[in-house]
């Protein structure tokens, strides 16, 4: 045994640099696999921990106050499948904005709830740095979900300004808490406010009743909910379904758990890097034996058995692997919290996961076993080298390769020619190198495209949003004629186009999957700018619809299939004509013509306008202008204090109050008035009350997708760096072993007058055909992989020039690494070579 250890140790000492490189590669393998496994383990803990820590109900229904009846809770609780119920209330709106750190308005759906009402639903611990006394002193304290901290970067004590219409409401963040519903920037945020602030907001935001129930951990599901909604409607004769939002146990679990898809991509990428590392390890061991074949012969002549030598190699690589595993494990302990952090950003929830030892042990055992097997298989070839054969460098007899690229045919540089000769001579080694660089190039190109796409801001996702990315989305007051108003808006010099469509207030049930969908209705889809079909065509007739790719994949509904839509117990059949990529609204959009909508909802008329502004027009300024001109609401009027205005102003204010009340509560669509006051006529009309709300779509998308984009940017950057490091280490190792193997040859060439730089160029250029092929092939499969995942993530547009530049950079990087790795040639002294 001593003999074997001595041999192994001697080998390690002899190739210090290559050993270090191998240790780094193994450490990376260990780090990536174990951290990813820890991450996935951690993600699995989010949901149960969230439910446990919040003591939350399992299912939630958010009903508009107008559609609620107290009997609903009894209907629910009388069902034996339901364990426990509760009723609470909150204020909710999708027309709310907040002021970001630059003071710019950003769209964010928001809910507001009092502490008492929140406690009826869940009991989260509050995370705060303020003392009770400090909180008591705050004028408008607000407790926000963790997503406000993770995705919007708020801190305790920060000012949070909510904007609704033209009014701003200022709060001070008193703490953060974990919540199950309205817990992300995409879904919206449920904020706990004081009773006083709740009453103020009550006058402007819509009130919703929250019905919560437990059903033995999701035993009932969506179908049960649908049944109950039917029962509610039958009981109350109210339209319950159209204004509802619901969360059932399984969907909450799925949403929270879906965070791990990024980790799965990461594991896939890690696997790719690992394959590359494995190939390199295999070549390294094979190369080592080839390089040391003479020494093997000497050892055999000295009496070492081939078994001794084989086990010395196995032990050598096991020692290297063990060191790599120890370093990788240390890295795992550092990296795992980073993954947990990414998951927290993505999910908006605290991760209570801790690092488990089992994935680390399993990974370590796997790596050790693999390396032992590879080392044994390769080292076992020592058997083929009895001393005499080993002394001849492993040649059983004299065999001479075919002459390739004879120098007499040299047309250009001799260095290029010699490099190419070297490439052909080491063809087998270059195959391994090609595989390694191809894999790394694939990882880099894939990550680069993803990074480029998600860091490109809103323009990048224009094609994937699955909804119109107009500058402003205008939600109209109920009786306003959208087509007429759109025509009026188009007359404005700032406006490029105004397209009437449906709002997000109505949801239609796609009965085939029992899912409530957001209808996107247009009279003609050809006028849309951001809805693109992945497959099929736009709907043209009143019996045609398009669905999202996510829906198509999950429900196995394809172009040509027939589906049934349901609204208020009216069911109609439609044909799916197209599939659309959709990154927004959780992928539950439905694309339908205006006539198609009318077929299902005869009273349907567009209530929203997509407004496209001309280049150079500031959307935020124009939004303000429109709000002033058309967007006054009853809440604005009721807050206006004109008691001290002139007589004429007070008359006008009263008239506007009346108009607002008539339009909001009595379905009045247009009002003109004229009041005789002495010899003066005070007149006006209802044109200032046409708009209910205006949303800046870009801001909504920014808010909804910023968390995802940040996480993807972090991950892709990490992968680009890791893949580049792998390429660098592989090339360094390759150069190191090439120089060692060709030391004599390089010395002779130096003696002939070849400079170190020329030889470094030759050696580095040798890998370029392999690198060129690898980069091209890696790019092709990278682009293909992007196309494959397009269905899941969106129509990821590929910036071809950027990818080409990336490829060139990658090629230069390969050359640079190889050139730098070959710098040891400088240390080769001709004199030493001649006299050794």
């Amino acid at each position: 045994m001593n003999k074997i250890v001595r041999l192994s140790w001697a080998n390690i000492k002899k190739h210090k640099l290559e050993t270090i490189a191998l240790v780094i590669l193994i450490a990376m393998c260990m780090l990536l696999i174990s951290s990813s496994l820890e991450g996935i383990n951690g993600v699995k803990t989010i949901f149960p921990n969230m439910m446990k820590n919040t003591e939350s109900f399992e299912n939630y229904l958010l009903l508009e106050e107008r559609a609620y009846d107290k009997e609903y809770e009894n209907i629910l609780s009388s069902d034996e499948r339901v364990e426990k119920t509760a009723t609470s209330e909150l204020l909710y709106s999708i027309s709310t904005n907040y002021l970001d750190e630059k003071g710019k308005e950003q769209a964010l759906y928001m809910g507001f709830i009092t502490k008492d009402n929140e406690e009826k639903l869940e009991h989260s611990d509050i995370e705060t740095t303020l003392s009770d006394a400090e909180i008591a002193e705050l004028r408008h304290p607000i407790y926000m979900p963790f997503a406000a901290k993770e995705s919007l970067n708020y801190k305790v004590g920060d000012n949070f300004e909510m904007v609704f219409g033209t009014k701003k409401y200022s709060f001070t963040i008193a703490g953060f808490y974990d919540t199950v519903i309205l817990d992300s920037t995409g879904e919206g945020l449920k904020n706990i406010v004081s009773d006083e602030d709740y009453h103020v907001l009550e006058s402007v935001l819509s009130k919703y009743v929250v019905l919560a129930y437990n059903d033995h951990h999701g035993k009932t599901g969506l179908k049960f909910l649908d049944e109950k909604l039917d029962e509610f409607e039958n009981y109350s004769n109210l339209d319950v379904k159209s204004g509802i939002r619901g969360w059932v146990y399984e969907s909450i679990k799925e949403t929270v758990g879906s965070t791990d898809y990024l980790l799965k991509i990461m594991i896939a990428m890690a696997a790719i890097i690992i394959v590359s590392v494995i190939i390199m390890i295999r070549f390294r061991i094979a190369g080592d034996i080839r390089d040391q074949v003479v020494n093997i012969g000497v050892l055999e002549a000295l009496g070492y058995t081939s078994k001794n030598i084989t086990f010395s190699y196995v032990l050598e690589y096991l020692i290297i692997a063990a060191v790599g595993i120890i370093i990788g494990t240390g890295g795992c302990f550092l990296m795992t919290p980073l993954f947990f952090r990414i998951c927290e950003i993505m999910s908006g929830h605290r991760m209570y996961g801790s690092i488990y030892i089992m994935p680390i042990i399993l990974t370590a055992a796997g790596i050790l076993l693999f390396i032992a097997i590879i080392a044994y298989i390769r080292a076992n070839t020592v058997k083929k080298y009895p001393p005499v054969v080993a002394f001849r460098k492993g040649m059983g007899d004299h065999c001479f390769g075919k002459e390739r690229l004879p120098l007499r045919d040299t047309k250009s540089s001799v260095h290029l020619r010699l490099a190419m000769k070297g490439f052909l001579k080491n063809f087998r080694q270059n195959i391994g190198l090609t595989v390694c660089i191809t894999i790394s190039a694939f990882a880099i190109v894939f990550s680069f495209i993803m990074f480029n796409f998600f860091s490109g801001g809103m323009n990048a996702i224009d094609v994937s949003a699955g909804m119109e990315m107009s500058d402003l989305r205008i939600e109209l007051m109920n009786p306003t004629d959208a087509k007429e108003f759109a025509a009026e808006l188009e007359q404005m010099p700032e406006v490029r186009k105004a397209t009437p469509t449906s709002g997000l207030n109505t949801m239609i049930n796609l009965t085939d999957c029992n899912e409530l969908m957001f209808p996107m209705a247009f009279s003609d889809f050809k006028v849309t700018e951001n809805i693109f079909t992945l497959d099929g065509r736009f709907p043209e007739h009143d019996n045609e619809i398009m669905i999202t790719n996510m829906c198509s994949r999950s429900e196995k509904i394809y172009v040509g299939d027939s589906v049934t839509l349901e609204y208020l117990n009216v069911k109609r059949k439609y044909i799916v004509t197209g599939i659309v990529t959709c990154l927004t609204n959780g992928g539950i959009n439905l694309y339908i013509t205006e006539e198609g909508m009318k077929r299902l909802i005869p009273s349907y008329s567009p209530d929203t306008i997509e407004l496209y502004l001309k280049d150079g027009i500031d959307a935020e300024e124009f939004r303000y202008e429109l709000t002033q001109k058309y967007g006054r609401s009853i809440s604005d009027i009721s807050d206006d204090d004109n008691a001290e205005g002139t007589y004429e102003e007070r008359i006008k204010a009263e008239a506007e109050r009346q108009i607002a009340d008539m339009m909001a509560n009595y379905g009045v669509s247009h009002v003109e008035y004229a009041i005789q006051s002495g010899d003066k006529v005070i007149s006006g009309n209802s044109s200032g009350f046409l708009i209910k709300s205006i949303m800046n779509i870009g801001d909504i998308m920014d808010t909804q997708l910023s968390g995802l984009a940040t996480a993807i940017e972090i991950m892709t950057t990490l992968f680009m760096v890791l893949s580049a490091v792998v390429v660098m280490i592989i090339l360094f190792m390759l150069m190191e072993s090439s120089i060692r193997r060709q030391r004599k040859e390089l010395g002779i060439m130096k003696g002939m007058g070849y400079t170190s730089k020329e030889l470094m160029f030759q050696l580095a250029f040798r890998i370029m055909p392999a690198a060129l092929f690898s980069v091209i092939f890696g790019t092709i499969i990278g682009v293909a992989a992007i196309s494959l995942i397009t269905g899941f993530i969106g129509n990821i547009s590929i910036n071809i020039p950027a990818v080409i530049v990336m490829d060139i950079v990658l090629l230069l990087f390969c050359f640079g690494c190889a050139y730098f790795g070959a710098r040891k040639i400088k240390k080769i002294s001709v004199y030493e070579l001649m006299t050794e």
Binding site: H398, E403, P406, L407, R408, M749, G751, Y754, M834, T835
Partner: protein, 253 residues
């Protein structure tokens, strides 16, 4: 008297190892004349090879200077020395040092193409030289380990002279060859010298040294004696051998 093509000023070469310093060449002033066939002799460890490599720019002196014509080459960087070598020097080694993974023809071409552009003339020149040293056409595509030692050394000589160097350095060129092959190789050197090639050769073999016209005897890092002879073939060989033997005896050889 021909002019000096190389000369040294107080050339020193010291090797250090484990804190121990060995002064191999000590304050040496020596001159290598154009068109001379200079033979450096001396006992083992006298510094012959060290001097050869210092003169040829293969190695840098520890102290002192080496002038090639008027140019001091002792201060050049390694890459500058490489460029200097390929333009001015040719080398023939005892261990031959052909590139094992290249054919005979490519071995010569590798040396040629670092200086000259590829052309039909160059290829023809290589062919002529190979034929001249007795390497037949059927051997041109062979690899070094398919040739005999003598054949390899002849290829090594062609590689050394293909760029028409100003000086040809040779370190024990016949050291690893049998008698017949040695004679063949030495005949090539003699012929090159007769055509005006400056040659500096290290040897400890009298038979080889006889081919030169000037012998420098090194002892303990210094030139302790110098002996001049007529060109090889122009005098009586016995008289020539006796004269050289006499000189070497005086040097304590």
């Amino acid at each position: 008297m021909s002019t000096a093509v190389l000369h040294t000023e107080k050339l020193c070469k010291t090797f250090s190892s484990g804190g121990f310093q060995q002064h191999v060449i000590k304050n040496l002033d020596v001159e290598i004349r154009e068109k001379d066939f200079t033979v450096i002799m001396g006992s083992s460890g006298s510094g012959k090879s060290t001097l050869l490599y210092a003169l040829s720019g293969m190695d840098k002196p520890s102290l002192g200077k080496v002038f090639f014509g008027d140019k001091d080459i002792s201060g050049l960087s390694n890459d500058e020395l490489a460029v200097f070598r390929r333009k001015n020097c040719g080398f023939v080694f005892q261990s031959i040092y052909l590139l094992e993974n290249m054919t005979v023809f490519d071995n010569v071409m590798t040396g040629a193409l670092v200086v000259q552009k590829n052309s039909a003339e160059l290829v023809k020149k290589v062919e002529q030289l190979l034929e001249k040293v007795g390497i037949k056409k059927e051997c041109w595509k062979k690899y070094p380990n398919q040739l005999s030692g003598g054949e390899c050394q002849r290829v090594g000589i062609v590689r050394a002279v293909i760029n028409e160097p100003k000086i040809l350095f040779a370190d024990e060129p016949t050291g690893s060859l049998n008698s017949a092959s040695s004679t063949d190789v030495l005949d090539i050197f003699t012929e090159l010298h007769s055509k005006g090639q400056s040659i500096v050769m290290v040897t400890h073999d009298i038979k080889t040294a006889l081919r030169g016209n000037r012998v420098l005897f090194l002892s303990d890092g210094k030139v302790v004696g110098e002996y001049e002879m007529p060109k090889y073939g122009t005098d009586d060989i016995k008289k020539r051998r006796d004269g050289l033997q006499d000189f070497l005896d005086r040097m304590g050889w």
